[in-house]
Homo-oligomer: 310 residues x 2
DNA sequence: TAAAAATACTCCATAGGTATTTTAT
DNA sequence: ATAAAATACCTATGGAGTATTTTTA
């Protein structure tokens, strides 16, 4: 067996098609076929059940592929360790981040991080929690910044580092009847006026949980299934409703207003989310982990609360 | 980089000598030299600091080698998984076991294990705790049976499974003044008559801890530094002293006596040790782990107490 | 019959060998 | 002076290519 062979079985598992997998590995289909056959002969088990019409991964194949991904990740990490030795704040790093955090954290984090680690090559993967976790478990991400913790991360091999708690704010059109109120609670809202993100966003679920009080605006055919907070805020600005946003979505300076929008804190227990940094314990560059966490915590606005300050 | 390259850097790290490492890899010294150079060039770091008289592992080299060992272990485990798929109770398994347990457990465990897993290839590594743990951490053992838990095993990546608790018995010459006593306590012993194993055996340390009561027989030039319990029992049989042995060291059937020896239970809190099975969570053959633990627990004499029965 | 994997064969990159030189104590 | 690693250069295994055949839905 060979390290390259691991790429090959992972590619076949990914594409479930020898031709496409071969392309992705930049080799010919016959070469891939022979190599896979050799591996299967060496191990004495079929990794893929295949014929000219279909391809399936066998049970043992799936466990082998999981190990192969882990091995590849370790090999990558050897390269990263070496790169970090040549340049402690260099190397490459793959960060996953949720869409309701990414646009607000990026401008805060990237400039100081580039200053602290000038030669660090950062891959920024913006996706919803579920997709990020899948990639992470496949060793395709080194770090994740999440607001929720799926059960699949309930394992000792992962390091979960709370960074900050971010309260929710009510976003209102400036012309809204509640725009001038000094203190607001969820119960002041009309059930129908709350706008939500599309399903799959953890923020949507958190707000739904929070709003067990006022009946939720049911999704209808006319509902705009907003894919981003920015879109949602545009709807609010045009008077189509109100929404809850995490603190980082606010304009950076008080009074936190922008053109047609005003943001109002919610009273005690108005809700908040905790942003956590997730890695594997086996991530081999502790200084880089520390630098990342520290840089995030050091450049947050006063609207959020630092947890576990470094 | 190549899987074989990992063998090479591990071999050089092991022998600290290119010629010997090359021999162990069955390649020539120049081939090894060129390969190591290539790896170092690829990673851009020196793994070994070397000249014609000395060889040292660099700091980054040590971390790379640790990863390399982990990768090799994963690769081995892929082969083992495949072997286990062809034959669920087959494959190979490397078990480390302490010298004060090995001679008593081996005859109990091996026949039923061979019956349960006829084609399992078992490597039996008998050594003291410290050496076993070193091998285990280097991924050179799959399982350990230990009576103590060094701090280096304080990590979530290891699975520690208590199997049974084994009380200590006092071993006396048949002619001893206490041989006829029905109930004994540590305080009945004369400080000078207690014989101990050589240093390094966990059993020695446990008995020393237990015997904070009677002053210990101090090692002198005349002391026989017994390397095994069997040797110690031979000394006892010849009237040179008494000793404490774990229950499994007793002859299998009551009245638990053999030729010139008698064994007497100690009263409440006469001491005991707990035997634990240690693996990595990443060990990929849970059925085999279960079978091993179960087979051990199923074939123990009544003198020990099963913990966490499977 | 058509899409996909397997086979047959040829080629070449690179791991590995032998002979020799360089290095550092 | 000597032990050990590095270099030079040659060999050959096995990974990769192209052309073709086999398979099965």
């Amino acid at each position: 067996m060979n390290l390259r062979d691991l790429d090959y079985i992972i590619a076949v598992a990914e594409f479930e098609h020898f031709g496409k997998a071969a392309d992705s590995c930049h080799i010919s289909q016959p070469t891939l076929s022979t190599q896979i056959s050799k591996i299967e002969a060496e191990l004495g088990v079929k990794i893929f059940e295949r014929n000219s019409r279909s391809l399936q991964i066998t049970a043992i194949g799936a466990t082998i592929i999981a190990r192969a991904r882990a091995i590849q990740s370790e090999v990558r990490e050897i390269h990263n360790l070496a790169a970090a030795e040549r340049d402690p704040m260099g190397g490459s790093l793959r960060l996953g981040i949720i869409p309701t955090l990414s646009p607000y954290l990026a401008p805060l984090l990237l400039p100081p991080l580039a200053r602290a680690c000038p030669r660090l090559s950062l891959e920024w993967h913006e996706d919803m929690t579920h997709s990020l976790v899948t990639k992470f478990l496949n060793f395709d991400l080194d770090f994740m910044l999440l607001a929720t913790l799926p059960e699949s991360l309930d394992s000792d091999e992962f390091l979960i580092q709370p960074l900050f708690t971010e309260p929710f704010y009510l976003a209102l059109p400036r012309t809204h009847r509640l725009a001038a109120a000094t203190s607001l609670a969820m119960s002041d809202l009309m059930p129908s006026e709350l706008l939500l993100l599309a399903e799959g966003h953890c923020l949507r679920d958190q707000i739904v949980d929070l709003c067990s009080g006022p009946a939720l605006r049911q999704p209808t055919a006319n509902d705009f299934r907003a894919a981003s907070l920015e879109t949602l805020l545009a709807l609010v600005e045009h008077g189509l409703g109100v929404t809850l946003v995490p603190a980082l979505a606010l304009p950076t300076n008080p009074p936190y207003d922008s053109q047609g929008l005003v943001f109002r804190p919610l009273g005690r227990d108005g809700g908040s989310r905790q942003i956590r940094l997730i890695t594997r314990h086996s991530f081999g560059r502790p200084k880089l982990r520390w630098e990342l966490a520290k840089t995030i915590q050091s450049h947050l606005p006063k609207t959020v609360t630092i947890v576990n300050s470094l």
